[in-house]
Every structure is written in C-alpha cells, then in structure tokens.
C-alpha cells in the first residue's frame, strides 16, 4: 500500500472525530493533498506513534504537545506546532464555588476539598492546581483534591469530568471545582449550574490549547501544504463548515508556542511527565 503524502494521528475522544476527519480527508483530497488519518484511543499512544514514525503529524492536546516537546528535546530531534484553532488561543480556567459559599479568597480553600477533572486534564486539573500552587496552596497538603476522572488518556477532551465535578459542587460534595471558562458559561446555559448558583473564586492566566504537532522528520512539503490548506479553509464554505463546527473552529491559525509555559510548569509540579516525556504519575491509567 502506498502511504499518502501526509498521515495524521487523532484521538478518538468522541464518535464525531470520525465524521470530522473523514470529511476533512475528502476535502483535502479534493484540494490535491493525499491525506489519511489514524485514530488512537489516547494521547500517550499517539505521541509515541509520532516518534515511531507511524504518523507525520498529530492533532495534539496541549499536554500531548508538552510531552512531544520533551521527548523531542531529549532525543535531539524537533517537533513543531504548525497550526491551531482560533478557539485554542488564550483560554482561561476558573475555580468555582457555590454562590453562598463562605470561601472568598483562594486561601479559604485551606482544609477544604477541591473537585478537579480528569487526572490528565490541562484545563480542569493541571493548570488550576498550578494556579493554586503559585498562590501558595498545594493540593494534598493544604487542601484535598477529589478527581472526577472520565476517559483518562484523552487529556480532558471529554467534558464529562468537568461536568461531574460541577454537579458534585452543587451537591455539596466538594467545596470548589475547576473548569474551562467557556464551560462555566455552557453549564449555566444548559442548566447544569443554574445561573447565579455559583461564583468564580479565581481565574487562571490565559493559556493555549490544541495544536497540530509535526513528528520528527515529517515531510516538510506535505506539512506546508496541509497548513496552507487549513489556513485557507473558510467558514463560508458549506463543504467544510459543518466539520469546522464539529471541531469547534471558526478559523485555523498558525501554530504558536507562547501559550504553553504555564502547562509546562504545571506538569513539572505535578510530576506528571519527566524531562524526557516519561510518564511519572503512577495513578495515571489509560
């Protein structure tokens, strides 16, 4: 079998992933780019596949980007973040309490329980815990951490962990919980967190989310063409708009790496990955 010009890895965190990439594959073919995709059940396998030469590029979570960067540096090769969604830029996470909670400052969290998302969720676990640590509060030492693990290995792509934590917050099972800012709005709109029932205790610094990460030695021409086509993709185009909608993107942007230092630090603080990308957290099963 002839290998297409570009093979991309994606994580199957939801059934729509197939719809999205089958659609984009056909669209890329129409633009003359031989493209195919391989689905992985988790980001760890996907990043490892990048280094095993299985895929030329990967649609990576921010955490997968961090790991790919570490693996590349330790091996003396390079990976690049070449494109991302407009919606991947400048996200913030929020730490939320019930509206009538006595907690007014982060310091009030001492001795309390914080609900976080999946063990590998940048937005609902790693970055909020880093934010608290920067304020002098360490999970497990100054406050208890209760994890709402849904689909480990998917790096928090599945919204379920954040939702479960939010529900637990309302039920009084935890004193505070963490989620991406957009989900706080979404949970308000869909009734998970009735409007006015919660209050934002803290907001993290902005950070970036997913990116297309090239694999070491990826074919430069095909990658360049892929990025060129992505950036040319128009929301006006009905052929791709439903796919862009499913993917949560209005416009593809060039990749940038300025939005990941916060997560890098969070990963070190949590001893999640080693400097070489080795998985250190013994509780992490995927």
């Amino acid at each position: 079998m002839t290998r297409p010009a570009l093979v991309m890895g994606a994580v199957a965190y939801a059934p729509k992933v197939i719809t999205i990439w089958e659609g984009f594959k056909a669209w890329f073919a129409g633009q003359g780019l031989g493209f195919d995709y391989v689905l992985y059940s988790n980001y760890e396998a996907q990043v490892e596949a990048q280094f095993a030469g299985e895929v030329d590029i990967a649609w990576n979570s921010p955490l997968a980007w961090v790991r790919a960067g570490r693996m590349a540096r330790s091996r003396g090769v390079s990976v690049e973040a070449v494109a991302m969604r407009n919606t991947d830029r400048d996200l913030r996470s929020v730490i939320v309490v019930r509206a009538d909670s006595p907690l007014q400052t982060l310091d009030d969290l001492r001795g309390r329980t914080l609900g976080v998302g999946a063990i590998d969720s940048p937005q609902a676990t790693l970055i909020p815990l880093h934010h608290l640590r920067a304020a002098g509060l360490a999970g497990g030492r100054d406050f208890a951490v209760r994890r709402f693990d849904v689909l480990s290995g998917k790096h928090g792509d599945h919204i379920g962990g954040e939702r479960d934590a939010a529900v637990a917050l309302l039920a009084g099972e935890v004193d505070a919980c963490c989620m991406i800012d957009g989900n706080h709005l979404a949970f308000g709109l869909d009734g998970t967190l009735p409007a006015g029932s919660t209050r934002v205790l803290a907001t993290t610094e902005p950070y970036d989310h997913c990116n297309f990460t090239t694999s070491p030695g990826a074919p430069a021409d095909a990658v360049a063409r892929f990025v060129e086509l992505l950036l040319a993709m128009r929301w006006d185009d009905q052929a791709v708009r439903p796919l862009m909608y499913l993917e949560g993107v209005r416009q593809w942007k060039p990749g940038r790496v300025s939005g990941y230092p916060q997560l890098e630090t969070a990963v070190d603080e949590a001893a999640f990955y080693g400097p070489d990308g080795a998985i250190l957290d013994a509780d992490y099963h995927y």
Partner: protein, 399 residues
C-alpha cells in the same frame, strides 16, 4: 462606538441575547462596547467571544472595566448560499415548487435554509406526484370536522337486538375494521415519504390517518358493545386489501383506495346508515361516511392534478385496475358471511319476504357503488365505455 450595558444580568441568564442583538446591528469588523456589573460577565463574554470568533479586549471605562467586542465575519459566512424554499402561504392559483430539494429537509416552507443542511431523502418530492389543488382546503375541513368518539356517539342509547341481527352487526363491523386498517395503513405508508414542502398534502393525509384511527375505534367499540367477539376475516378480503398496499406509487394507491375503494365505501356506509338496526351503528356510519367523503375528494383532486400534468398517466391507472382484477380473480371477493349480514340488516328479520327485500337492497347498493365509480371515472376524463369497464373490474370486496 455603540455601547450596551447589561448591568448585573449574567450572560448565562439571558445577557447573551442582548450582546448578540447589539452585534447583529454592526457590520463585520465593527466594534461594540459592553459594560456589565455581574460577577462573571467578563469571563463569560471572553469565552463566548473566543468560541464565536469575535475579538475581545478589556479596557478601563468610566464605571470600571468594559469590553470591546469586534464583530467577526462568521455570522455572515454562515448564510452565504442559503436556500429559499418557496412561499409559506400559497396565493390563489399558486402552486408549490415542482421539485422539493432534499436539502430543504424538514424546514418550514418559506424558511431560509442554511447551505450544507443535510439532505433528507423523501420519496415523494415531485409536486405532480402528490399535489392536490384543494389539499389545504380539505385539510381545514378535516381539522374542523374532527369528532370525539366518546362524545359524538351516545354509547348508552338503549336498544335490544335479536341475536341473529346483533351477530350480523358484529360481522359487518369485523369487515369494516379490516378495511379501515387498510385505509389507515395505505396513506400512512405514503405520508412519511411526502416532502414537507407539500405541507397541505402532508396535513391532509395526517388527518386522513387520524380519521381512520377513529373509525377503527368506533367500529371496534360497536362490535363489542353487546359483548360480541370479532367474527370472520377471509383470505379473499385480505388479498383485496393487500393489493392496495402493493400499489406501485402514491397516485395509483390513492386512485385504488380513495377514488374507487372509499368511494364505494361511502355507498356502503350510507346503506348501513339507512338499514342499521340500532342508533349507535347508524350514528357511527354517518360520521364515518362524512370523513370518507373528504378522503374521496382529496383522491379526486390529486388525480385531477396528476392527469392534468401528465395525461398519459391514465394508462397506468387503467393497467393498475386490470392488474388488480387479474390478481384477485382467483379469490372469492366479498365473503358470503358479510354479504348475508348486509342482506339480513336490510331485511330486519329472517322471513322470505324480508330477505327478498334485503337482498334487493344490497343489489341496489352494489349498483349504486358501480354508478358512483363510473361517475368519478368520467370526471377524471375516462371515456364512457372505459369508465364502465374499469368500474366493473373493481374488486368485489368493495374496498
């Protein structure tokens, strides 16, 4: 720069509506200042703007921080190439589109449909295959003419029938129910295939199904009113009805079921109304006949439209009647139990004189049915001789 103030209204409490409406007033690239006083408004607005592709920046305003939203071009893009889907209300003489686009899907006729909407395959998406000029009118009549089986019929009306007569009623009801089952299933099978663009047809068929559902109910209730169980259903009767389900298309099915079958049934129900031995049977046959008249009117109107648009379709109708006749030739036609029951109901008693009267009445009814079929075929433009021939080929099972 326009400014809106959402005060303490949360974006998750309706505040988004105010923001969206204000942004919609602006061209892409223009900016809107948003001032809020709620606890999370800026966080939520930032998250929303990111998701929607609007730029947002915070700055100091006269009353604290305010957001500057720059409208992205995405909302316009979404409606490029959107499809017009005709007029919601048709004027006099106006017709819906000759072909309904699958991509119009389930949208209201007249709605603007976003390009890229999923095509939905409706088998009946050509106007001439379903349309009837009076469909809207007949639907309105049907909507106004719906009756409640519980209150429209005095189920407690006193009557007492000899066992033989009650049994005859039960046999006729058994027969009516199976015919009404066909009269429900045939349009129901087509209903789901009608493109919603042909709304009036969809609505008329939906109420036709509702009518038949009611008929099935009242015939069933009358059957059991004095404790009788349902009686006999024959192979010939079912074969005749089965052939309606096998009609090759909507027009042919409508022709066989409504124009020929239900048309004949009106005569039968009128006969029963005249000869029914009890007030409940009289009443339900009267109500059912009124509904059936609308179904026949729809069938006629559809066939008139179809034949006006496609004169050659007449040959297909002829062939359908002939084929059905051939297919049913080896079957017995109307079962003798039903025939005898009808005679007995018209006779009222089991004396030779009365039975002679009853028999004559049933013969007259059959002649009336044939005359009615001929008249309808003539109205559809069949020649005199052809109308007679086709009418005579109609199933002996009436429906």
């Amino acid at each position: 720069m326009p400014t809106i103030t959402i005060d303490a209204l949360g974006l998750d409490e309706g505040g988004l509506l105010l923001v969206r409406r204000a942004l919609a007033e602006l061209p892409a690239g223009a900016a809107l200042t948003v001032r809020g006083a709620g606890p999370q408004w800026a966080t939520h607005l930032g998250a929303w703007a990111r998701e929607q592709g609007h730029e947002m920046a915070m700055r100091a305003g006269p009353d604290g921080a305010e957001a500057v939203l720059t409208r992205g071009p995405w909302a316009e893009g979404r409606w490029l190439g959107a499809m017009a889907t005709g007029r919601s209300t048709l004027g006099p003489g106006e017709e819906p589109a000759a072909r309904a686009d699958p991509a119009w899907g389930l949208a209201a006729r007249g709605a603007t449909v976003e390009a890229g909407s999923p095509p939905i395959a409706f088998g009946l998406s050509a106007r001439d295959e379903v349309w009837a000029v009076t469909a809207g009118e007949l639907y309105a009549q049907a909507a106004a003419g719906q009756w409640d089986p519980q209150t429209a019929i005095d189920w407690d009306a006193p009557f007492d029938l000899p066992p033989a007569i009650e049994a005859a009623v039960a046999q006729v009801m058994t027969y009516l129910i199976e015919n009404e089952n066909a009269a429900l299933v045939v349009p129901a099978r087509h209903l789901g295939q009608v493109h919603p663009h042909y709304r009036e047809v969809q609505q008329a068929l939906a109420l036709q199904c509702a009518d038949e559902a009611r008929h099935i109910e009242v015939f069933t209730r009358r059957l059991g009113l004095r404790g009788h169980a349902p009686m006999l259903s024959t192979a010939g009767g079912q074969a005749s009805l089965h052939s309606l389900l096998q009609a090759p298309d909507f027009s042919t099915a409508t022709f066989l079921l409504s124009v020929l079958g239900e048309g004949s049934f009106i005569t039968l129900l009128t006969f029963l109304q005249a000869h029914a031995p009890d007030p409940v049977t009289r009443r339900i046959c009267r109500l059912a006949a009124r509904d059936e008249a609308r179904h026949v009117a729809f069938g006629m109107a559809h066939l008139e439209h179809r034949l006006a648009a496609q004169a050659g379709y007449r040959t297909q109708l002829q062939a359908a009647v002939e084929q059905r006749h051939e297919a049913l030739a080896p079957t017995a036609g109307l079962n003798e139990e039903v025939f005898d029951a009808l005679v007995l109901l018209a006779a009222g008693e089991l004396t030779p004189e009365a039975v002679a009267r009853g028999h004559a009445a049933v013969q007259q009814m059959k002649a009336d049915m044939a005359a009615g079929r001929r008249a309808r075929l003539l109205r559809l433009g069949f020649e005199h001789e052809e109308a007679r021939r086709l009418s005579d080929l109609h199933t002996r099972n009436f429906m």
